[in-house]
């Protein structure tokens, strides 16, 4: 498809959509589907047909609105009214409301801070397009960035644009994307690869899943632009097998993109060729680490290897390989379309753009949010999240999953950016954000994460394999009320050893949950060790001291 044809298709699709006076977009993401949105979609389609409104009302499935807890959600556009939770029985009332006005009993306030404080870049199409239709994506200017890149820009110009935008890797570590791309572009090889890391293994995080489910073409477009910039012809999307819906949507999107000439030979009438294959993970957290992921794509056990050489120099089958996270690729088309300068206006000095977070745990509005970098944690928890339910006190926020740390309530005014979170002993991570209230014991939380790291350690290097298991035992001892102060010293020492000597990121960051809770919640550790008491009443002390 040439750029002209693309524009024409976008215009026709938009015109077709505007023929309908109303559009009902029913969320069919994993969250709302678990609350029964598929039945709601069916009921509404039937109802619209029954009342003969199908010429004026379009009913379609669409992506995640973010407020999964109030699901199933649907929106009526162009009015922009959000309804939820909707049941099958509400269908007749909803269809009637199109002519009779808002159905107030189901309205979900879309002008609440949960929606107004967000800034949607990667998720701009989520909930506004049918993820299974490429035309919908094209109508939102989809693939226009790719068409422009391959017909008007040189690879060097693309690299320059991405570098200037200040985009950093959204997988958690925050390596400058432009720099990574340039390294792969400079590497000399006949064959290069682009890999999209969709192995979102961090428990409590589902940002990438949402992007893959709600807007799969955005990722394909981002990867194709990257491939053009670095000179790759083959790409892989590595997805967790645990995300069946994301896999289905990606497969469908890949077939459509190929059919319409956005993948394959001679993309958009240029001489650029690129194909993408899907690879399924099989449930190993360590495969999120890039060298382990490469081993897994090669059909081996997902075990990391020492770096250097970095994958940018010697990656998949020894060839230069660019690996970026789903969300990173999701930013690319917006940067090309709207320009690096536009992107750089969002965010802070060193962390540009937005970040998608999965806000969960003890918070009123749990769900998926996209916020500009630099927003404070307090704004996220209390304004967007609506605070802690049942009048309980917030104890802290956990970011970065098993590799991150717990930030106490007192420090919630710090901005969200790569450096600030690292300073606090946590990490940006891939975007899991779990709010913890006083009903949770921080030692128990640390033990939970250590249990995770212990199980997920691949076993290749000794510090991680043995260290995580020893640290888990020590934490277990503390939660049982059987530990001494010497055990605490040993735990701290082990944290240092494992952090400094492990082979890959999993081991190096495994002590983070312990170190951060020790830093901010040492009193809880002391209560367990000295007083043999669990302040939150979570741990069953074996030698509880009678008060």
């Amino acid at each position: 498809m040439t750029p002209e044809e693309l524009n024409k298709l976008a215009a026709t699709t938009r015109k077709h959509q505007q023929q309908f006076a109303h559009q009902i977009n029913v969320c069919v993401g994993t969250g709302c589907q678990s609350s029964g949105s598929a039945a709601v979609l069916e009921a509404l389609t039937g109802e619209v047909k029954k009342t003969g409104a199908q010429s004026s009302c379009l009913v379609r499935g669409s992506g995640c609105r973010g407020m999964c807890a109030s699901g199933p959600l649907l929106s009526v556009d162009p009015e922009g009214v959000l309804y939820g939770p909707v049941t099958v029985e509400d269908a007749p009332d909803l269809v009637r409301s199109l002519s009779e006005g808002k159905l107030t009993r189901l309205v979900c306030e879309s002008d609440s801070p949960f929606f107004t404080r967000q800034c949607r870049v990667v998720l701009e199409n989520a909930g506004r397009i049918d993820p299974e239709r490429i035309q919908d994506y094209i109508a939102m200017e989809g693939y226009s960035a790719l068409a422009r890149v391959v017909t008007e820009m040189s690879p060097g110009e693309v690299l320059e644009e991405i570098t200037r935008s200040g985009l950093r890797g959204r997988g958690g570590a925050g390596y400058p994307t432009g720099l990574k791309w340039s390294t792969v572009a400079k590497a000399r090889s006949e064959q290069k690869y682009v890999i999209c890391n969709g192995d979102e293994g961090d428990p409590g995080a589902f940002m990438d899943r949402s992007v893959m489910e709600d807007d799969p073409h955005r990722i394909i477009e981002g990867m194709a632009i990257a491939a053009y910039a670095v000179g790759a012809k083959q790409g892989y999307i590595y997805v967790r097998a645990e995300y069946p819906l994301a896999i289905k949507r990606l497969k469908n999107a890949l077939a459509q993109a190929k059919r319409d000439g956005f993948l394959g030979d001679g993309i958009c009438g240029s001489s650029f060729s690129f194909t993408v294959d899907l690879r399924l993970g099989a449930g190993a957290f360590v495969c999120g680490e890039e060298t382990a992921l490469i081993a897994s794509v090669e059909g081996r056990r997902g075990m990391p290897r020492p770096r250097p050489p970095y994958p940018a120099v010697a990656g998949l089958w020894g060839k230069p390989t660019l690996i970026n996270n789903v969300e990173t690729f999701g930013n690319i088309q917006s940067i090309i379309r709207k320009g690096a300068d536009w992107f750089a206006t969002i965010g802070t000095e060193r962390s540009k753009g937005t970040k998608v977070f999965a806000l969960t745990g003890r918070v009123a509005n749990s769900g998926l949010i996209e916020v500009p970098m630099g927003i404070t944690l307090r704004e996220i928890v209390y304004e967007i999240g609506g605070g802690i339910p049942e009048g309980r006190r917030c104890k802290g926020v956990q970011t970065g999953g098993p590799s991150g740390g717990c930030i106490p309530e007192a420090l919630l005014d710090r901005p969200v950016d790569y450096e600030s979170l690292a300073e606090l002993g946590s990490i940006m991570g891939s975007g899991g954000m779990i709010v913890i209230d006083e009903t949770s014991c921080m030692v128990d939380v640390a033990k939970y994460f250590m249990e995770f790291c212990m199980t997920e350690s691949c076993g290749k290097c000794v510090p991680c394999r043995t260290g995580t298991s020893q640290m888990h035992d020590l934490l277990h001892k503390i939660t049982e009320g059987e530990a001494s102060l010497d055990d605490l010293d040993l735990l701290q020492e082990l944290c240092e050893v494992v952090r400094n000597t492990s082979l890959c990121g999993l081991g190096q960051s495994a002590p983070n949950p312990v170190l951060s809770t020790l830093r901010y919640f040492k009193d809880e550790y002391m209560a367990h060790i000295v007083d043999k008491q669990c302040p939150a009443g979570v741990c069953q002390m074996r030698h509880a001291v009678e008060v």
């Binding site: 994993t30 969250g31 589907q33 678990s34 609350s35 407020m67 999964c68 807890a69 699901g71 979102e200 293994g201 961090d202 428990p203 409590g204 995080a205 589902f206 899943r209 097998a241 645990e242 995300y243 690879r279 399924l280 993970g281 099989a282 449930g283 190993a284 957290f285 897994s296 794509v297 090669e298 059909g299 081996r300 056990r301 997902g302 999965a358 969960t360 745990g361 003890r362 749990s366 769900g367 998926l368 956990q398 999953g401 899991g432 779990i434 913890i436 949770s440 939380v445 939970y448 994460f449 995770f452 691949c458």
Partner: protein, 167 residues
């Protein structure tokens, strides 16, 4: 591709039609060794688990050592070497679910049916599994009952669901 031309892949262990699906997957990748994980996904999807016969067949077809096939099968949590019961209950133990009390749900099932995660009851009726994260964190604690995701679980809700399957 060359290895495939040089030597015909071995015949499937039985006339079971499901082997055709497995064969098709391997053929699509030209019987290259990197198709190992994809092939095992195909086997598990067709048969529900990976037994020794299947591992041997895959190893011979892709010409990789059995030890490597076994290594991959046991390294990844998604693959199971044991057959599942008639019904499966998967409880999410991800962080959001954990903070919201998934361990109580798990303990309830463990106590009542005397099984641990990964086990199947003696009558082959129920398999209990845990998941690292279903990605339904907004609906924590979540679980999957015979493929259906159920949100905001409580011990009563879990036990009620399982009781429906029980004779």
């Amino acid at each position: 591709m060359l290895s495939y031309l040089l030597k015909q892949p071995p015949a499937p262990p039985s006339g079971d039609k499901r082997w055709k699906l497995v064969g098709a997957t391997m053929r699509r990748y030209g019987y290259e060794s990197y198709a190992l994980i994809e092939t095992m996904h195909a086997v598990q999807e067709a048969f529900g688990f990976l037994d020794e016969e299947a591992l041997r067949f895959v190893a011979a077809s892709l010409r990789v050592p059995l030890s490597r096939v076994y290594g991959v099968a046991t390294f990844y949590h998604y693959f199971t070497l044991k057959p599942q019961g008639r019904h499966t209950c998967v409880l999410c133990t991800g962080t959001a679910c954990y903070i919201k009390g998934s361990s109580k749900n798990l303990a309830a099932v463990e106590d009542k049916y005397k099984i641990k995660p990964g086990d199947t009851t003696k009558d082959d009726n129920l398999s209990l599994l845990t998941a690292r994260c279903l990605g339904s964190c907004g609906l924590a604690p979540a679980g999957v009952f015979d493929g259906e995701v159920v949100a905001k679980l409580t011990p009563d809700l879990v036990m009620g669901r399982i009781a429906r399957w029980m004779p």
